[in-house]
């Protein structure tokens, strides 16, 4: 009988990634509900260095797996997590829905016949086993999935969906033998984001941000002027930066900047993808302007305007 919850932590460049503590947060709640033991694993060249930080309250055991390199490799992670599952027989394995797990979670699940769902933000257990909730159709609906006949379920958990555990406990620590892997890829190095523009999205208190709703490059200028006239920093969603209409330094979101100091964020023509929201959903006052009344950005905004950004923009300028 498989039992227990196994959390796989993440680190990069020698730092534990904060999402690891969120996964523990999700797992502690499930441990309280089900009584299953909770284990946290770390895979790395010198995994011991992360152990102290992972001795979090609620964790019963910290597991280490030694790897030949410290940087992420999908085949080393896949084999290590498989070895961990075989060693401890958990019924539930939680990974972050992160760039690294995008590279190995699905191969792990598919090769072993595990139950599997990604980007989940709700987890429960009922008579049929584990049940997970994720979103669909551009975040407009929720989807509840289960895993009939699967004794192990692997879920990737949405960053930001659970509160991190910040207090410490006294779990035991064990090493799980490293599986033999011959990786077919090789980490060459990290590169930091390119600079470019001198704009400071993380430091800006007031951001007007434009998304694909601007339609074409020629329209960007009028929103630059709008941002200037209202005293805001101009930000954007990813398609605007990808198209080269604004520099990457202005992109808000998971692969761009976090609007860390922002108190007022006006999202114009932005649908509200998870990755965009990762950079701004914490902002106290969000105003969303969108022609689509069902746009998911309205679920996190304080104020919503169903309308055309060009109409609203032009009218707004009359007040400044």
């Amino acid at each position: 009988m498989m039992s227990g919850i196994l959390v796989i932590s993440e680190h990069r460049n020698g730092e534990l990634r904060p999402v690891s503590r969120e996964l523990v947060g999700a797992a502690v709640a499930l441990k309280d509900a089900t009584g299953e033991p909770l284990r946290v694993a770390v895979i790395g060249e010198a995994p011991e260095r992360y152990v102290a930080e992972l001795k979090l309250a609620g964790v019963d055991e910290v597991l280490t797996v030694q790897a030949v390199v410290d940087a992420f490799d999908p085949e080393i992670y896949e084999a290590s997590v498989r070895a961990l599952i075989e060693a401890r027989q958990p019924s539930l394995v939680l990974l972050a829905h992160s760039v690294d797990s995008l590279g190995y979670a699905a191969p792990l699940a598919v090769k072993n016949g595990y139950g599997f769902a990604t980007d989940v933000f709700g987890i429960e257990r009922d008579a049929d086993g584990w049940v997970a909730t994720r979103a669909g159709y551009g975040q407009k609906v929720n989807i509840e999935v289960d895993f009939p006949g699967r004794s192990v379920v692997v879920l990737t958990v949405r960053p930001g969906a659970y509160k991190p555990v910040e207090t410490f406990g006294e779990p035991s620590v064990s090493a799980v033998p490293a599986p033999a892997v011959t990786p077919r890829s090789q980490h060459l190095g990290f590169e930091e984001p390119a600079g470019g523009d001198d704009v400071n999205i993380p430091g800006a208190e007031f951001i007007v941000s434009i998304g694909r709703g601007v339609g074409e490059e020629d329209n960007v200028e009028e929103f630059k002027e709008l941002a200037d006239s209202v005293g805001a920093t101009l930000g954007c969603s990813r398609p605007i930066a990808d198209a080269g209409w604004l520099p990457k330094a202005r992109q808000v979101g998971q692969s761009g900047k976090t609007a860390a100091a922002c108190k007022l964020y006006v999202a114009m023509g932005i649908s509200g993808s998870v990755q965009h929201m990762a950079g701004m959903k914490h902002v106290e006052t969000i105003v969303a302007v969108n022609t689509d009344p069902e746009a998911s950005i309205f679920t996190i905004a304080r104020y919503g305007i169903v309308g055309d950004i060009f109409d609203i923009g032009r009218e707004l300028r009359n007040h400044f």
Binding site: P74, S98, V99, L102, G103, A105, A106, P107, A109, V110, K111, G115, F116, T118, D119, A135, G136, Y137, K140, V141, N142, I143, E144, V145, D146, F147, R184, S185, H187, L188, F190, E191, P193, P239, A241, D242, A243, Q251, S255, G256, K257, K263, L264, S273, T285, P293, F298, T299, A301, R302, Y303, I305, G307, D308, I312, E315, L316, N318, H319, F320
Partner: protein
């Protein structure tokens, strides 16, 4: 050499949509179809290699697992220069999740033996981010996800890729080929189809196969080959947005007030 580009026909919701009778999906009458945004980039990357140095012999094959309506997306790819298009379908695939789809793509890939496979990082509808890498697992090929730059010389037995990480940094990785990569938005600038291309694509053949003919057995097909099962689909409770009603002038006046209050408080 051959590059396989699996593409997905995605669906967005019509303004007033209804659920299917069993409550496990949307009534198909209320779905609007399109080509997954990421697949414009994967096709472009394949075309970029084909049109680049040493690419003369490259065949670009686009493939989808989907019903007849998905032919439209394959034709968009043919119009942009793909050499060949394939579609696989069986009714049982209605109930397939990303893993179930990957099993069919794996059977197809075994038949086609491509040198590279480019899938999208995720799809705009359900954002699973699983199909491409599950395919790599099934084929036991080297793989890398969220690739934002690719350096590959046709015929070479390795490639250098730049994985895009959180916060906009990157990791460079050398990877053995054949390989499966999921490509990220912005890796290139996708082309538009020419009018002539669109006209010609309408006449081009699409090879249609059923999954069984590819050797996908009943125990791996559709629900049986999936790693999850949808129980129900529902509209989540709306968040806290307070809607500002009125004419655009009235809405903008209220927004101006919010901005000015913020300015006063700052």
């Amino acid at each position: 050499m051959k590059i396989l580009v699996p593409i997905k026909q995605v669906a967005t919701l019509d303004e007033d949509f209804e659920f299917r009778e069993d409550g496990r999906d949307i009534d198909p009458d209320f779905l609007i179809h399109d080509l997954n945004e990421w697949d414009n980039y994967t096709l472009e990357e394949a075309m970029r290699l084909k049109e680049g140095p040493g690419g003369e012999g490259i065949e670009v094959v686009v493939a989808t697992v989907g019903p007849e309506s998905a032919d439209e997306e394959l034709r968009k790819c043919l119009a942009k220069g793909a050499d060949r298009a394939l579609r696989v379908w069986s009714d049982a695939l209605e109930d397939a999740d990303a893993i179930g789809v990957a099993r069919v793509l794996a059977a197809l890939a075994r038949r086609e033996s491509p040198d590279l496979i480019f899938a999208g990082v995720q799809a705009t509808d359900h954002a699973c981010g699983a199909t491409g890498m599950a395919l790599a697992g099934l084929l036991d090929l080297p793989h890398a996800a969220v690739v934002a730059a690719l350096d590959y010389t046709p015929g070479s037995n390795s490639a250098t890729v730049r994985r895009e990480l959180e916060g906009g940094s990157y990791a460079s990785v050398r990877i053995d080929c054949p390989a499966v990569l999921t490509l990220q938005l912005g890796i290139n600038t996708p082309r538009y189809a020419s009018l002539r291309g669109i006209k010609q694509a309408a006449q081009r053949p699409i090879e249609v196969l059923d999954a069984e003919a590819l050797g996908v057995t009943a125990d791996a097909l559709g629900a049986a080959g999936s790693a999850s099962r949808v129980r129900r689909m529902y509209v989540p409770e709306k968040g806290r947005a307070q809607m500002i009603e009125g004419t655009p002038a009235e809405q903008a006046a209220r927004l101006a007030q919010i901005i000015k209050e913020f300015g006063g408080a700052a």
